[in-house]
């Protein structure tokens, strides 16, 4: 097939190549960085779109850099996301989790702002356990926390658009695809609602819609990117906490921001999901955090759940072979 068909949407090309079987045989170029354990399900991968079969002309890999150090918790991202993507209201429950009444990502919530109230020690900038409300007179309580300060962390969570997306790997229908922008998108009309993707996601992002049964999650506003528009959440963010752009640039910008914060003495600042050597090969949507990922409800060391598939297959084969040999030897032994 011709690699140069610029007038055609890469998805058509991909679809055709998959139909004809050319996809696997010819068009998939070698990953720029070899994967460490020799399989294509994990490890660094420079160009997931190319890996998925898009031609060299595919656009840059796009993503989000969410700088939580400037997030003011206005939730404009949540609202803009729901408005643009026509997602319905999904619960009028007061949760008591600070100002977070959204609680988590799901089929009808593709952006979620977490609010974490902490007390930190001013000298060490370490967390102080708030514990249960003190029983003593307030003077004692006040003295107890002298030298400590309240810190309120806010962070807008979203689908990570992993380099190695387990949801996509396990999808039996091909409903989950890698887009030309390197993002991971569910095609609602192809999804049969089997739900395999739900436990596969190491972040607990994707979910089955309780009413229509399909799987849903952030598309990085696939329907805006084609017209050169920025995703709705990043457009609405007033403080540029959510930054959208080519992933390479975002990673660079994030490194600079991290350096800047460290220089300002905010040593607890760290990046999360930007590392191409991590368990998911780096995230297309990554974060600058001010505390451990667990504090924000993020897994500390996410691993693509299909990483060990080849090894598991080997073990399974070995086990099967062992079993076969054992069984065979029983029969052989029986003849004796």
């Amino acid at each position: 097939m011709s690699p140069d068909r610029p007038s055609e949407h890469p998805l058509f090309e991909l679809e055709r190549s998959m139909r004809t079987g050319e996809h696997a045989r010819e068009t998939a170029p070698e990953p720029a960085v070899g994967s460490s354990n020799g399989n294509r399900l994990s490890g660094p991968l420079a160009d997931p779109s190319a890996e998925a079969g898009y031609s060299e002309q595919h656009p840059d890999r796009m993503g989000f850099f969410t700088d939580t150090s400037v997030c003011i918790g206005c939730k404009a991202c949540e609202v803009a996301c729901k408005e643009w993507n026509l997602l319905e209201e999904d619960g009028l429950e007061l949760t008591g989790m600070s100002y977070d009444n959204t609680t988590d990502l799901g089929a009808t919530t593709w952006r979620h702002v977490a609010f974490v109230e902490q007390r930190i020690d001013l000298s060490t900038r370490a967390r102080v356990d708030i514990g249960m409300p003190g029983m003593g007179p307030p003077e004692t309580a006040t003295e107890e926390v002298a030298g400590s300060e309240v810190r309120w962390l806010m962070s807008s969570d979203v689908c990570k658009h992993c380099t190695h997306a387990a949801c996509l790997d396990v999808c039996p229908t091909g409903a989950l695809i890698r887009s030309e922008y390197g993002t991971v998108v569910v095609q609602d009309d192809v999804c049969n609602g089997c739900g395999y993707c739900v436990p596969a996601c190491p972040y607990g992002v994707i979910d089955i819609h309780p009413e229509n049964g399909g799987a849903f999650k952030c598309t990085l506003c696939q329907d805006r990117l084609g017209s050169g528009m920025t995703p709705a959440c990043a457009t609405a963010c007033p403080t540029e906490s959510i930054q959208y752009g080519p992933l390479d640039q975002l990673r660079e910008r994030a490194e600079q921001r991290l350096e800047q914060l460290h220089e300002q003495g905010i040593t607890e600042a760290r990046l999360y999901g930007q590392d191409p050597t991590d368990g998911v090969g780096g995230d297309g949507a990554f974060f600058l955090l001010l505390d451990e990922p667990e504090v924000y409800g993020l897994p500390p060391d996410p691993v693509v759940t299909t990483r060990d598939l080849p090894a598991m297959a080997c073990y399974a084969l070995a086990a099967a072979a062992t079993a076969a040999v054992t069984i065979a030897s029983c029969f052989l032994g029986g003849r004796r």
């Binding site: 949540e78 009028l92 007061l94 008591g96 009444n101 003190g134 007179p137 307030p138 300060e149 309240v150």
Partner: protein, 884 residues
């Protein structure tokens, strides 16, 4: 600011990114505090003590910007010898009459100066008694009086020395005692402020209604103004005091006011002096010096815009057509008048007083006693449904069959469904274009009022011959009103563009005017709002300009249009030194170009561009000509920034710490507990609580402050009906500290009932370390945060915080005190029906509340204000019977 103005807060984050230190002062730790470098928690209602402490720090340490203060403020002006300070009189200023102030002792020595805002009517000063010969007074006023000054700032009665004495007791210790701010943190703020002010650096203050909604609200802002003037932070880039307004275009609706005592462009509404002529109005309201000296140009142009050809020099340009003030016609007095049966009809447009105004019960009592009520809103708000599901119906106090009010609910178009402008904090008009047509019967407010006007005019015209002479005279202002806007589309929508052009004004040939300096008092010009003159200069809608920032200078003059004259920083003459040179290269903004002999710079200079810095006015000069080349504050009657306000305010020339109307704490600064000039309304539905040392104050031991969430908009009319907002903050709650939760047995997410003398509301409990008890006046003080977005209608419902609030007002601007109150809190839901009544009655009885509680003294025998020309201070407006 991050909570209620998240979009504007992006610029604070931008400043932080560039190295600015952000300090947040608030009773509650909010989303703003989370972003700040330093958070300063303080007791709600104690800000004047805090700001006073900073003023004292600046004065005592000699940290003020000496050249700026000496040249641009009234520091050197000598005050009349009859003036006595609160420090001399234990909490009151000279001139206290027992209910309000006679302000004459606050004047400068040798001259009466008219303020740029606030109370300006000088009838008594100009004409004395009504029998006084008015012509003589006008001749006298031809000589411009200059107050005495002492440039060395050492005269004991000069403003600078008065200021020093006034604030001498506002020490860090006092701040700690009154505000609960520890001294270390106070010093951190004071030093940051001083280090970041001067020639090379400036500091900006941003505030919202947390500063204004107090019985001393205006004085809060005065305190900030004094501090900023002392530090040289006014009229300079990066400085200023920024009022973050409460809604979109609230600035616009003070510029072209919905306020009873102002005409467009801050022209005072005339008072009902007998046979007041235009000349007399000008004589009593104009300033000798500065641009208010041209008030006649502004008034005549306004009258010409309104009454066109009917307004001529012979008939005083129809000055008689303007209504006259006979007293307080503010919103709270109007509602009392409704309860008393003196007001029969009511328009409520884009507001939800049934849950959104202080003492909401009182508001609903007024609504329930009308003949007719028109409500225009986006949603079926509580103000339109109070008669069937208001708390009084729920509690069985009244029933729909007992309420005679005929309610007309008219659906309104949203801002996306109409053209128009927003004018916000920075005085900038920004045009918004209609994106979609309104659905069904939804109409813009412009459509509504235009077509209503047409119908009223045609009805009056048709019945002209049935009307007697007196009635015909009364109809004239309406019949002669210019009402000729072009309409467009199927809905006959009036052109907002044409309205803006009318506001801008036109010259004798009908061409759009370019500047307010072109306005004339001979009737040749028209302008609907003189300060907006220029927004349509060159026949271009300048509010609609959206030149991207990167394609213009950093001042961005091509984005929208700022009044006046597209000037982005007011009083920017102060950005240059007296000789006209920038104070520093870093802070250069406008300056005198000696070669060109004119003012120039990055912004439109706020000075006559041809007036050299060394200009000295002639002795008989008036108006702008009387301003010296060094006077930056061109709207002030003396051209100077007022460290001391000799006029305009009803509660004193200097800010003084008073406790809020209701406070658990005694005022330890002086014997006067509360602002002695505040306005009270002792009425059965508006009982006040005892405060401080008064017996019964301990019944309401906690301070509460109302607040807004980012997720909701004001009284909820624009957010509680929207699923995507309702789900983000889905229930009424109250915020409190773990310590208070323990003290009162409150459980996180459980219910709590908050009680005051007016009402009791319930909400879910949010226990949070963000709220911390303070040490104030030697005791532990708990504060409770109560959002005020909820009501019985919409997707998320709950009790309204305004059931708790009293109506006690700032005497100058009639604002209520929503930001500092006293309450009790207990676990569990509030009782219903008659039990609720019983609960409140029990609390009132325990606190010994009577019709006199909360006043400073028994009510005077004669509570009626003199001529209705002065506010009545603590005079009581007692209407109904006491509750049983």
């Amino acid at each position: 600011m991050a909570e209620a103005h998240p979009v504007g807060f992006q610029w604070v984050m931008e400043a932080k990114r560039r190295g600015a230190k952000i300090i947040h002062v608030d009773p509650r730790f909010t989303r703003t505090s989370a972003m700040a470098d330093t958070f300063v928690p303080l007791r709600a209602g104690s800000d004047i003590a805090f700001l006073g402490g900073l003023i004292n720090h600046v004065l005592r340490g000699g940290h003020y910007f000496h050249e700026y203060v000496a040249a641009y403020t009234n520091a050197a002006t000598i005050v009349d010898e009859s003036f006595a300070d609160t420090e001399d009189l234990d909490g009151v200023f000279s001139g206290f009459t027992g209910s309000g102030y006679d302000e004459t002792s606050w004047y400068y020595q040798g001259a009466r100066v008219n303020p740029a805002a606030g109370e300006r009517d000088q009838w008594h000063d100009v004409f004395g008694s009504p029998e006084h010969d008015r012509a003589t007074s006008e001749e006298e006023s031809a000589r411009r009086a200059e107050p005495e000054t002492d440039p060395s700032l050492t005269h004991p009665r000069c403003v600078f020395q008065i200021l020093k004495r006034h604030f001498a007791r506002y020490t860090p210790e006092l701040v700690e005692q009154l505000c609960g701010i520890d001294q270390e943190r106070f010093h951190e703020v004071a030093e940051a402020l001083v280090a970041n002010s001067g020639r090379e650096r400036t500091t900006a203050f941003a505030y919202a209604v947390g500063w204004t909604h107090h019985t001393v609200g205006v004085q809060y802002i005065r305190a900030a103004s004094i501090l900023q003037l002392l530090l040289g932070n006014i009229g300079r880039p990066g400085g200023g005091i920024l009022a973050l307004r409460g809604h979109a275009s609230i600035q616009g609706s003070t510029d072209i006011p919905t306020l009873f005592d102002l005409l467009p462009g801050y022209i005072p509404m005339p008072r009902a002096h007998p046979n007041l002529s235009l000349d007399e109005f000008v004589a009593t309201n104009a300033a000798d010096k500065g641009y208010w000296g041209n008030i006649r140009d502004y008034v005549v142009s306004l009258l010409k815009a309104w009454w066109g050809e009917y307004a001529t020099a012979e008939n005083d340009f129809r000055f008689d057509h303007l209504p006259r003030l006979t007293g307080d016609h503010g919103t709270f007095q109007t509602v009392i008048d409704q309860i008393e049966g003196r007001v029969r009809g009511y328009f409520v447009v884009g507001e939800n007083p049934a849950v959104g105004t202080a003492n909401a019960h009182q508001q609903r009592m007024g609504l329930a006693n009308l003949d007719w009520l028109v409500v225009r809103d986006l949603n079926m708000i509580e103000t339109a449904t109070f008669w069937r599901n208001g708390p009084e119906i729920e509690n069985g106090e009244t029933s729909p069959s007992e309420i005679g009010t005929e309610v007309f609910f008219l659906p309104a178009a949203a801002h996306t469904e109409k053209d128009g402008t927003f004018t916000n904090t920075q005085r900038m008009l920004q045009w918004h274009h209609k994106a979609v047509e309104p659905l069904d019967d939804q109409r813009s407010d412009l459509w509504f009022f235009y077509h209503l006007g047409l119908r009223i005019k045609s009805k009056l015209a048709a019945r002209r011959f049935e009307r007697d002479a007196r009635q015909r005279e009364r109809d004239r202002p309406v019949l002669e009103l210019t009402w000729d806007y072009p309409t467009e589309g199927d809905l006959a929508e009036p052109s907002a563009d044409a309205v803006l052009r009318e506001i801008n004004g036109t010259d004798a040939e009908g061409r759009a005017l370019s500047s307010y300096t072109r306005l004339r008092s001979d009737g040749s010009t028209r302008a609907g709002c003189w300060i907006y003159c220029g927004v349509y200069a060159g026949e271009i809608n300048r509010a609609a300009r959206r030149e991207p920032g990167e394609q213009q200078s950093w001042v961005a003059p091509e984005w929208g249009w700022s009044w006046p004259a597209n000037r982005r920083i007011l009083y920017n003459r102060a950005a240059a030194d007296p000789a006209g040179a920038p104070w520093s290269e870093r802070k250069a903004y406008v300056w005198w170009d000696a070669e060109q002999r004119r003012w120039t710079g990055h912004d439109v200079p706020d000075v006559d561009v041809a007036k050299p810095p060394d200009y000295e006015p002639a002795a008989d000069a008036h108006g702008p000509d009387a301003l010296r080349g060094t006077d930056p504050f061109i709207m002030q009657g003396d051209g100077l920034g007022w460290l001391y306000a000799p006029a305009g305010l009803h509660d004193g020339p200097l800010p003084t710490h008073y406790e809020p109307q209701e406070s658990p704490l005694r005022n330890t600064l002086h014997a006067t507990q509360r602002n002695p000039a505040r306005r009270l309304y002792h009425r059965p539905e508006n009982r006040y609580q005892p405060s401080g040392a008064e017996p019964g104050a301990e019944v309401f031991p906690y301070v509460f402050t109302t607040f807004r969430l980012t997720e909701h908009h004001t009284a909820g009319g624009m957010s509680r009906w929207l699923p995507h907002l309702a789900e983000l903050a889905p229930a009424m709650f109250v915020e409190l500290s773990p310590e208070l939760a323990v003290e009162r047995g409150l459980r996180h997410l459980g219910w709590a009932t908050v009680i005051t003398a007016r009402g009791a509301i319930e909400g879910r409990v949010l226990v949070t370390p963000r709220i911390r008890p303070l040490r104030s006046n030697g005791r532990t003080l708990h504060q409770i945060g109560i959002p005020w977005h909820w009501g019985p209608n919409g997707l998320t419902t709950g009790d309204a915080a305004n059931e708790l609030l009293n109506v006690a007002l700032d005497p100058t601007v009639h604002i209520m005190e929503t930001k500092a109150g006293a309450c009790d809190i207990r676990p569990g839901r509030r009782p219903r029906g008659v039990e609720l009544h019983r609960l409140i009655a029990t609390y009132r009885a325990r606190a010994g509340i009577t019709e006199h509680t909360g006043g400073d003294a028994p009510p005077p025998d004669n509570g009626l204000p003199e001529n209705g020309t002065r506010p009545s201070g603590t005079d009581t407006v007692d209407g109904g019977e006491d509750e049983s």
